[in-house]
């Protein structure tokens, strides 16, 4: 009944939402172009938007960008999923066994702030210049952030739900899986989002340092060849990918959960 009307309105409203974002992009491009034209610095150090666009098209046409996106995203998918699984297990244990949780919390918090790039030397010694090495940095760079965030999320479960469920015979892990997880799902999606951004940063960072294929490698290659247009073009791709994943995957699922759970419906 109400749904078709809302659906009809949506494209227009989405467009209105996008106006500020588009304005910022246009303004940025204008300033960029102005800086290039005023020749404040060597033009080969600051290529203009047109040059970057050309570089982007060229990289795309020779397949470098699709190939790199595929390589980076498949590493990310594996690394992020593994860190999500391991981090969630660790968080469940921390919440379930309180003393264990209390004991380990400060270390997990500390490791969360540890810069992921600083794991690279150790990773190289352990796994060499390999896929496993990139995966290790991705996982270790996001694991603790996931753990902290998931543990925090699980602790937001309203006590009344636990009381009601215990009262109906649920207990222990059954209680956590049947009540705590679904009750805190909106928070858990935020945790996944946090984990994703940590994994993304760690992976691209590690790729810049030692990968032979991938977006991070492509940036590094441009820099090696003093092809700043390539550097900027690939940086742009990395930025856009980040925004798209955030918008499409996480914001969408968050909206879906909020609607289903009957939480604040802002739309």
């Amino acid at each position: 009944m109400a749904a078709p009307a809302a659906d009809r309105r949506r494209p227009l409203r989405d467009f209105v939402h996008l106006i500020p974002m588009v304005l910022v992009a246009v303004g940025f491009l204008a300033i960029w172009e102005a800086v290039v034209r005023l020749q404040v610095w060597y033009s080969y150090l600051i290529p203009g938007p047109a040059q970057v666009g050309t570089a982007l098209a060229e990289l795309w046409n020779r397949g470098a960008i699709p190939q790199s996106i595929a390589a980076t995203l498949s590493r990310l998918a594996v690394g992020f999923l593994l860190s999500l699984v391991l981090g969630s297990i660790l968080a469940l244990l921390m919440v379930h066994f309180r003393t264990f949780g209390k004991g380990i919390q400060p270390y997990v918090l500390g490791l969360q702030t540890f810069p992921s790039i600083a794991w690279v030397p150790l990773s190289l010694v352990w796994f060499g210049f390999s896929e496993a090495s990139l995966l290790f940095v991705t996982i270790i760079g996001s694991l603790f952030a996931v753990t902290v965030s998931v543990a925090d999320a699980l602790r937001t479960v309203p006590p009344i739900y636990l009381k009601a469920a215990r009262n109906m015979g649920s207990d222990g892990m059954d209680l956590i899986l049947r009540v705590t997880v679904p009750a805190t799902l909106p928070h858990l999606i935020s945790s996944a989002k946090v984990g994703w951004s940590f994994a993304w940063r760690s992976l691209v960072g590690a790729e810049v340092i030692f990968a032979t294929v991938g977006l991070g490698f492509l940036v590094e290659q441009g820099s090696e060849n003093a092809n700043i247009a390539q550097v900027m073009a690939v940086m742009l791709v990395i930025l856009v990918l980040g925004v798209v994943v955030d918008r499409v995957v996480f914001s969408r699922s968050q909206e879906w959960v909020n609607r289903r759970w009957g939480l604040a419906t802002t739309r």
Partner: protein
């Protein structure tokens, strides 16, 4: 299944709060008949809800114990189910999902589960809302789901913790009729806590009046008016008058003896 006999033996509970030790309940003794409907009424802060938590096994008594059919109660169990004030339904499940929750926990096979869920959803007249989401329901409907979710487990004891306190007066009276019908049909031993004296008088076979903190049994009023009752039945009115008198005395006494 027939309701259980419930025995509360010198039950007491003290809490250690930030402001020191608070004695919520002291020396509560009460024995119910099988399938009896007991209402518990008292001034706010007299430990009414605590009493239910102790029977439910959600909290440990400081002194005394609770017996069900002669066996001591240890911890929570689906044979003593609580209906909470805010219904405490799970928003990630629909009505059907909420009602079947306890059966799933107990591992009841699918066919039997579906049959029982359907039976109890029908009993609270929510057949048309079986797949509605919780936030789409009114307050009265939520409490009906809460009742179905509890009764579907065929508990021996039903514990109701001010379940209608948040409802409009009209809906509340409607729910009082619903509860009496369900009780007449299921004959579950019921402890029903309320701060509304009229509600206590309409529903209870016996009305237990608790004193001000620490809560002790001040008086027990018998109420054998025929069911279903309303607040305008003469016997009910008489009980309301008497319970009010006792409560007033309790409150006056409490005012003169601050903690």
């Amino acid at each position: 299944m027939k309701g259980a006999t419930l025995k509360l033996v010198s039950l007491g509970k003290t809490f250690e709060g930030k402001t020191g030790v608070v004695e919520a309940l002291r020396d509560i003794n009460l024995t119910t008949d099988e399938g009896e409907f007991i209402t518990i009424v008292g001034p706010s802060g007299c430990g009414k809800s605590t009493l239910l938590s102790l029977v439910a096994g959600l909290e440990e008594p400081t002194t005394g114990w609770v017996e069900m059919d002669g066996t001591r109660v240890e911890g929570p169990g689906a044979d003593r189910v609580v209906v909470f004030q805010e219904a405490a339904l799970f928003p990630w499940l629909d009505v059907h999902g909420n009602v079947q929750f306890g059966l799933k926990v107990a591992g009841v096979p699918r066919d039997e589960r579906e049959a029982r869920v359907a039976e109890f959803i029908k009993m609270v007249q929510l057949e048309n809302f079986a797949h509605a989401r919780i936030h789409e329901l009114s307050g009265g409907m939520k409490q009906r789901v809460g009742l179905a979710r509890a009764l579907v487990l065929r508990p021996r004891v039903l514990l109701m913790d001010e379940p209608f306190a948040a409802l409009d007066v009209q809906i509340r009276e409607e729910m009082q009729v619903v509860v009496q019908e369900l009780w007449l049909r299921n004959a579950t031993t019921t402890l029903f806590v309320t701060h509304d004296v009229r509600e206590a008088a309409v529903l209870g076979d016996r009305i237990v009046v608790l004193s001000h903190r620490p809560g002790t049994v001040s008086t027990i009023l018998m109420n054998d008016a025929p069911r279903p009752r309303t607040q305008n039945d003469p016997t009910v009115l008489e009980q309301i008058r008497r319970a009010n008198e006792i409560l007033k005395a309790e409150v006056t006494w409490a005012d003169q003896h601050p903690l």
